[in-house]
Point group: C2
Chain length 557, copies 2
């Protein structure tokens, strides 16, 4: 019989507790949670505030009583673990209801303390009463109370990450006048800029006032005015501060556990923590979830991915390890999805910005494809961007923005990545097809097709942010759309020859066959067909504008 | 320059033509199509009849003119290839408009003639005017004309395959009184019986009169009465005969190409056809699509999969091969999906019936999981059944019936299979999670979890069709649901001890610890938790009823 203590009773902690009990009926398992609630639906909180989830009870996936009974656990809520003595193998626990402190010994200790909202010392923050953050049920109750008071005419959400964007949507749908402020030039960092622009369009189309590239300078009048770095002043009845999370590492710091640059607990492959003094492994203490550093599945760098899938997965495998099973730690891809009004945004792996930062070479594949057969009603477009290693052809990451069926394609790609697929393997994925669900060539297949043509040297790609300079320097940009489409908007300096007359008019192209020629259309597909014709007519140095005019226009939106 | 002829201008043929042109600007490519239309949306036909697709033009993905122009093809519709001379390398073409016949030579010949509806010599069939089949646009126009005449009060659809079920739905939604007749005891053969029962429920719930286990004996009164084998007589203003398809192999037979047992053209790995006389390879003639035999990806047997994905894929790779590229032929999984009223039915690989027939050993994993977080509105159940090889743990097949997000899980599993994943690999698939899309443990992950427990020897599974006999012979079946649930229906002979009181009441179990004990609940999850408790208390021979009472009840529906 082992005595196992768990710190933190939500995603990682509760999952570990459940699996630990399943693996051993006899172990003594004590779960400490600082707050009142365990096992709640963090991810549902914005939707409860937005009245999409009507019943507060639904947020409680498990209750203290229910879970204690079912899994025969000793669950102690209102109980904060304030210190660890790794030598004596004890923790110090503070009961917030009684104020009393006591020690508890352990054979194994699991830390799943999570991450907390960043609250930097912005001037005026401490005096304000209407500035709230969102992590747990008490936070939710506070925000909900303010919202329900009916006094929130104007809300300001600071931070364009997943939580910020979800809060902006939910407050807007409640009827508030919402401003979303993001210091960077885009929301949702897992997306590259041109993909994020599709989200910006959606946010604006839904009447949220989106301010990019401007941060909060200070708050004034008890927070009823948010003053931005630009000097702009926003009036606010409610401010949600959602500029990111940091690991809840107070306990880890106290115990002098090794933490990474940004404060995340460092672990071994088996989730054991290390001494902050001599890096020796504490083989009886484990850490999981938002609080830890993980290995990037793609690049093998250290990173941190504060998402529920990793926390749940790690909760299960750490329980396995403690019970003597061999576990595998593949690292984390960071697969993520969010609903933003009527759009679905999904991604996995690294984006171009991340790869650039890490100086990792990549080839871009971009496609705009319908989510299902175009002739079946309500087909919608999915913008897809995939990055692969031009040497090994392995997939480095993918992003998608669309509606129904968007995250399906990212799930397929994420699965492919986990199995070590190359981008060409996507061609052979035999996916479900009937008109309401996909096309006989699924968008995921098409990504593989496009990559093959690039690898066959049929064309190279040029990106939306490169083409203007190229044309300015005299590069020849051929637009093969119809004149009607061109008249509705085209890239400056482009020359229009419609695809279906290109064979007849090819002599009009005024450059030599080895001079670079840049081709575009609406999304890149007709450009590709044109490229095949050009190639068949002796052109040797051909570029396709990734995503076509559609991506170019969105990026310049 | 090569001269390439293609027979058949739809899924396989048109795709091959397009890719051929892309790979070579100069080849002469002639596409022969017996009918008027090329490149139409076969899969959309039922929905056009059902008025879901309103615009007939939308069915024409490409027109003869449009496609000729774009791809510089010589497209000859109304032109049937009636003979092949593999030695002279010519074909004989009959122009159905002029009635004239001529020869055309080739360097390469691609056959993509497709499959046609089975129309057996049922007595009374030839006299009937209202019995129609559905393959192409002329068929569609005929059915549509009958439907639009307003005289179809009662429609009978014969055959419960994908097309039959889709037609039943579409006719029903048009207001007809529809009877669907299927000779087997279930519709949709890719599903195992208990999964198909979910579809039967859905069909019945939508007021289609579903008759299983009864076939057509004959038609009488010019087809206005359908007499079943049971003697039952169905009145019908319209009869759709959709009992399956056979390869459209008249040309292949004429040319004496090697065909399989059921008449499909046999090909090499590179889609070359063989002589029916001496099995020598005709290395300039290729066959693809519904008309050919393919290798079952899972079992490596020869089979036939008349679906659009394979036809499209083969169209592309055969063009590659003809242009000197090396191609891979992995065989076909048979991934398929259909919408049946509000349900989505998806599958990939082999089902239990197929594996039984092939005497391939398998282990079943069954789960009922919500498509997305239960606390987020409109969560719906997905019934999932996965089969894996108990020796290699490789995935043999999977089936799913549910609503939104159903085919997503099959796509993930199909991709996993293509990459050679074991069932345990599913655990580590890092899939998109936010409340509107999934759960932190995706249903696909859960299948991997369940399999691990089975492989760890925690329990064995017992199936819905086995349990009654077991209980009758004195087997002990423990139902761990709440008494309220049990009172609403339970398996005869089961003993109820609610999960949460099992630890206290375990002594009530009247059997020795090494006697087999069968455990069930609603779907199998609480049974599993109970099994862990039983195991912790010394029971050694434990079974979980796959899919729980839910599957048992549905199977007996
Ligand atoms: C509003 C919101 C929306 C989200 N949406 C999504 C989403 O859509 N998809 C997604 O994948 N992820 C989402 N997440 C993130 C997801 O909830 C987290 O990744 C996940 O909960 C992390 O699990 P964890 O166990 O590491 O930490 P948590 O679930 O945060 O649990 C940590 C617990 O430990 C307790 N604790 C900390 N220190 C101590 C101590 N010393 N003693 C006792 N108890 C302690 C805390 O009180 C907390 O309850 C969202 C998060 C929030 C806040
Ligand atoms: C109503 C219906 C619904 C369907 N729904 C789906 C679905 O949802 N999902 C799915 O995956 N699949 C579906 N299918 C199947 C899919 O359409 C086929 O798998 C696919 O079209 C096969 O492509 P093919 O090129 O082999 O044959 P086809 O697309 O049938 O094309 C063959 C063509 O060859 C022509 N031809 C034959 N012989 C000759 C000759 N000697 N000379 C000249 N021309 C000739 C025929 O006229 C025909 O037009 C559906 C089929 C039908 C009929
Ligand atoms: C509620 C909670 C404690 C449940 O943990 P859990 O029991 O591990 O997870 P689930 O309820 O999904 O059940 C999965 C288990 O049931 C088993 N199972 C599921 N369906 C089954 C079936 N039909 N037959 C047999 N076993 C089944 C799985 O194998 C798995 O058990 P295992 O890990 O021992 O293999 C935990 O998920 C939690 O606290 N969640 C809320 C917090 C959170 O995750 N927040 C972030 C997202 S909002
Ligand atoms: C219409 C039809 C002729 C089109 O064939 P196709 O051109 O091969 O297919 P698509 O239109 O999907 O285009 C795919 C091609 O465009 C390329 N492509 C697509 N998007 C692209 C982009 N953004 N950039 C570059 N290339 C792109 C792909 O790489 C692929 O070319 P490749 O095969 O040379 O690699 C054929 O699909 C057809 O006849 N369909 C109707 C019949 C049918 O399939 N019925 C059954 C289902 S209802």
């Amino acid at each position: 019989m082992k005595k196992i203590l768990i710190v933190g009773g939500v995603a990682g902690g509760a999952t570990a507790a459940a699996r630990l009990r399943r693996l051993s009926e006899e172990d003594e398992i004590i779960l400490f949670e600082r707050d009142e609630y365990i096992s709640f639906a963090n991810c549902g909180l914005p939707y409860y505030i937005g009245d999409v989830i009507k019943d507060r009870k639904k947020l409680l996936v498990q209750t203290v009583d229910g879970m204690s009974k079912r899994f025969n656990l000793d669950i102690r809520n209102f109980s904060e673990v304030v210190a660890i003595d790794p030598v004596a193998k004890t923790v110090e626990v503070k009961n917030h209801q009684t104020g009393k402190t006591y020690n508890e010994s352990y054979d194994k200790l699991i830390l799943s303390p999570g991450a907390k909202p960043i609250a930097p010392p912005i001037p005026g923050l401490s005096e304000a009463k209407n500035i709230l953050t969102l992590r747990n049920i008490p936070d939710t109750d506070k925000i909900k109370a303010v919202v329900d008071s009916g006094k929130v005419r104007r809300a300001v959400v600071i931070g364009g990450g997943f939580i910020g964007v979800e809060m902006a949507e939910n407050l807007q749908e409640l009827g508030a006048n919402v401003t979303l402020v993001e210091k960077m030039n885009q929301v949702l960092k897992p997306l590259d800029f041109e993909m994020a622009q599709l989200v910006h369009q959606e946010i604006n189309a839904n009447c949220v006032n989106l301010i990019l590239g401007d941060g909060v300078d200070h708050f004034q009048k008890q927070g009823s005015e948010v003053v931005l770095e630009s000097g702009r002043v926003l009036e606010a009845d409610l401010v949600i501060l959602a500029i990111g999370v940091v690991p809840d590492n107070m306990l880890a710091k106290q115990a002098n556990l090794k933490c990474g640059l940004r404060g995340h607990i460092v672990t071994t492959q088996n989730y054991e923590v290390l001494s902050g003094v001599d890096e020796s492994v504490y083989s009886d203490i484990f850490a999981i979830g938002d609080a830890i550093e993980v290995k990037d599945f793609v690049t093998k760098d250290q990173t941190a991915i504060p998402l529920a899938w990793p926390a749940n997965r790690q909760g299960r495998v750490v329980a396995d390890y403690i019970n003597g099973k061999t576990i595998k730690n593949f690292g984390i891809q960071g697969t993520a999805v969010a609903k933003v009004f009527n759009k679905t945004i999904a991604s996995t792996g690294n984006n171009a910005v991340q790869l650039d930062m890490k100086k990792i070479d990549y080839q871009i594949v971009m496609a705009h494809r319908a989510n299902h057969a175009g002739y079946y009603p309500h087909a919608t477009n999915i913008a897809l961007k995939l990055l692969y290693d031009p040497k090994t052809l392995s997939i480095l990451g993918a992003q998608a923005v669309g509606q129904e069926g968007t995250e399906k394609r990212i799930d397929v790609i994420a699965s492919a990545m986990k199995m070590g697929a190359t981008v060409l393997d996507l061609q052979d994925f035999e996916l479900c097809y009937a008109p309401p669900f996909s096309s006989a060539k699924d968008p995921a297949n098409i990504l593989g097709y496009i990559a093959e043509n690039i690898e066959d040297g049929v064309y190279k790609t040029v990106e939306w942010h490169e083409i203007d300079a190229i044309v300015e320097k005299g590069g020849f940009l051929l637009d093969v759309r119809s004149p009607v489409e061109v008249s509705a908007g085209a890239i400056k300096g482009s020359v229009n020859i419609e695809l279906d007359s290109l064979r007849d008019r090819i002599a009009e192209i005024p450059i030599s066959k080895d001079t670079p020629i840049y081709v575009t259309c609406q999304v890149g597909q007709r450009a590709y067909l044109a490229i095949r014709i050009l190639k068949g007519n002796g052109f040797t140095n051909i570029y396709n504008l990734s995503g076509g005019y559609s991506t170019y226009r969105t990026a310049h939106y």
